[in-house]
């Protein structure tokens, strides 16, 4: 216990990195999810096929593989491209951005399915009514689609977020100084790996519990006016 207290700053910094990573990837995932869902529901066959290729690819490949491909391969690709065009000298993809991009990219695919289902759950008549009232597509989105989509998407969104938080642990494998990395380094140096990993376990549980409370609040807020049977 004293050793945990002695290394509290390291653990705290790690937790901050983990949370930043999770939130950053979530933002990217939501963005990609909205784009993906729009593409899947668009009348264009090209967009539909692109979006389903994206979700199929992600369902088939573990996140750590993509992360490593992006971190090692992406680095090479970006610099080969820079060499070839002469646009930049040397760019470095750091672990944090590799983590955000790969986790965001992976969960964007899951979000695509979430949002697609949620949009499909909105009765078509409401959108037609919006058109009949002369709303612009932007206005239909912000006043009709979005508020209801959030409500329909929330359960699956919650699930995705919880899985995403756990996926951030993998970034320690490519060397980002996140919670897991810091804790295992500290654990090795004081020869108490169990104590430190257990602390990580508890911190992850706390993150899960806190986001549970927050998402439940969001759920209540967005289901105002819905009859519960």
């Amino acid at each position: 216990m004293e050793s945990i207290w002695a290394y509290r700053n390291l653990l705290f910094e790690g937790t901050v990195v983990t949370v930043q990573l999770a939130v950053g990837s979530l933002l990217l995932a939501v963005l990609l999810g909205l784009i993906g869902a729009t593409a899947k529901l668009s009348p264009s066959r090209v967009f539909q096929n692109l979006a389903s290729a994206y979700t199929t690819l992600i369902r088939g490949v573990p996140d750590l593989v993509l992360m490593m491909l992006l971190f090692y391969g992406g680095q090479q690709l970006v610099n080969d491209f820079g060499d070839f065009t002469g646009w930049w000298d040397y760019l470095e993809i750091n672990q944090f951005s590799a983590g955000v991009f790969s986790i965001g990219f992976v969960f964007g695919a899951y979000m695509t399915e979430t949002f697609r289902g949620a949009i499909l759950a909105i009765p078509r008549g409401q959108i037609e009514a919006g058109i009949a009232c002369g709303m612009t597509p932007m206005k239909i989105f912000s006043r009709i689609t979005w508020p209801q989509m959030v409500r329909y998407a929330l359960p699956s969104f919650t699930n995705n977020w919880l899985v995403l938080v756990k996926a951030t642990a993998l970034v320690s494998v490519i060397g980002l100084h996140d919670l897991v990395w810091n804790a295992s380094t500290a654990g090795r140096s004081v020869r108490e790996p169990f104590t430190f990993m257990f602390a990580v376990l508890v911190i992850y549980l706390m993150i899960t519990a806190i986001s549970d409370v927050g998402l439940r609040w969001l759920d209540r807020k967005y289901s105002v006016g819905v009859r519960r049977v």
Binding site: V65, L69, G73, A169, Y204, T208
Partner: protein, 283 residues
């Protein structure tokens, strides 16, 4: 790279030897691969082909641990799910705690805790379990994976046991079935069926999570990719090959589950009516 000394190489160049070009320019598969790798492609296919056996062994390890963990986890999950669904007085809360912890934390951390963490305790290191089991990465991974999948499986199995239609249970009681017979003949078979779509996700999820193996010194599929890249200082080849292997595995698994769902959930499918629906045509 061009020195073809692997056993696979000789097999390919001698016995496979089919031509991929037209008659006038007929070449063996091996020559074709060498040519493409040297002249046209950013990826070195020859190198991948040379070490394909590593990837096959990796696939074997990945599948082995995933399968064992799923089977053992499933066996653990059934009684726990029953206890949770019927809110057993003493068991419900501890099982809830178990699933909450294992579902709320990353598998990587659970595996580290077991593999790196347990060595901290002298009592564990001196126990009879240390030498054969707890000091081996394979066993630690298997235990962590089993408990993890048991946590997830318990919860969705509980859900599907709870949604058993009340009428089915009443009918079983009316037929004079004992609670045990009802469970065995009515509740579990239909709960397993309803859980099948969720279980297919869990299986794929487990396969994805099995990349954790490569972080505790085991040579799984990703481990083979990491080894290849590390050995030849490459950026793409190992990971892309591993990626393709994973995609094929997931494809096969999801095909298998589609087939099983068709078989076991056949009674829930919408019936095809004989007549085509009448459609109104304008003008």
């Amino acid at each position: 790279m061009s020195a073809c000394d692997g056993w696979i190489v000789s097999i390919v160049s001698e016995s496979v030897g089919f031509s991929l070009m037209d008659e006038s320019n007929s070449r063996t598969f091996w020559e074709y691969l060498t040519h493409v790798s040297e002249h046209h492609s950013p990826l070195d296919f020859v190198l991948i082909w040379d070490h394909i056996d590593r990837f096959l062994w990796g696939t074997l390890l990945t599948l082995e641990i995933t399968l064992f963990a799923l089977v053992l986890g499933g066996i653990l999950a059934v009684p726990m799910a029953i206890a949770r669904a019927y809110k057993h007085r003493w068991l419900n809360f501890p099982i809830w705690c178990f699933t909450y912890v294992f579902r709320g934390t990353p598998l990587l951390v659970q595996t580290y805790l077991l593999y790196y963490g347990l060595a901290q305790f002298d009592a564990v290191r001196e126990s009879f379990l240390w030498d054969p089991i707890l000091s081996s990465a394979w066993w630690c991974a298997l235990i962590a994976f089993t408990l993890n999948t048991a946590g997830y499986t318990t919860e969705f199995l509980r859900g599907s046991i709870e949604t058993t239609p009340a009428g089915e249970i009443e009918a079983a009681r009316a037929c004079g079935m004992s609670p045990w017979t009802t469970m065995r003949r009515i509740v579990l078979p239909s709960a397993f069926r309803r859980a099948l779509p969720a279980y297919s996700n869990e299986v794929i999820f487990m396969l994805h999570s099995s990349v954790v193996l490569s972080t505790i010194t085991l040579q799984d599929l990703l481990g083979a990719g990491r080894w290849l890249n590390g050995r030849y200082y490459l950026a793409y080849e190992g990971f892309i090959t591993a990626m393709l292997f994973y995609m094929v595995l997931v494809f096969i698994i999801s095909r298998g589950f589609k087939f099983w769902e068709k078989h076991w959930l056949g009674h829930l499918r919408q019936r095809q009516t004989e007549d085509e629906p009448v459609t109104l045509k304008a003008g």
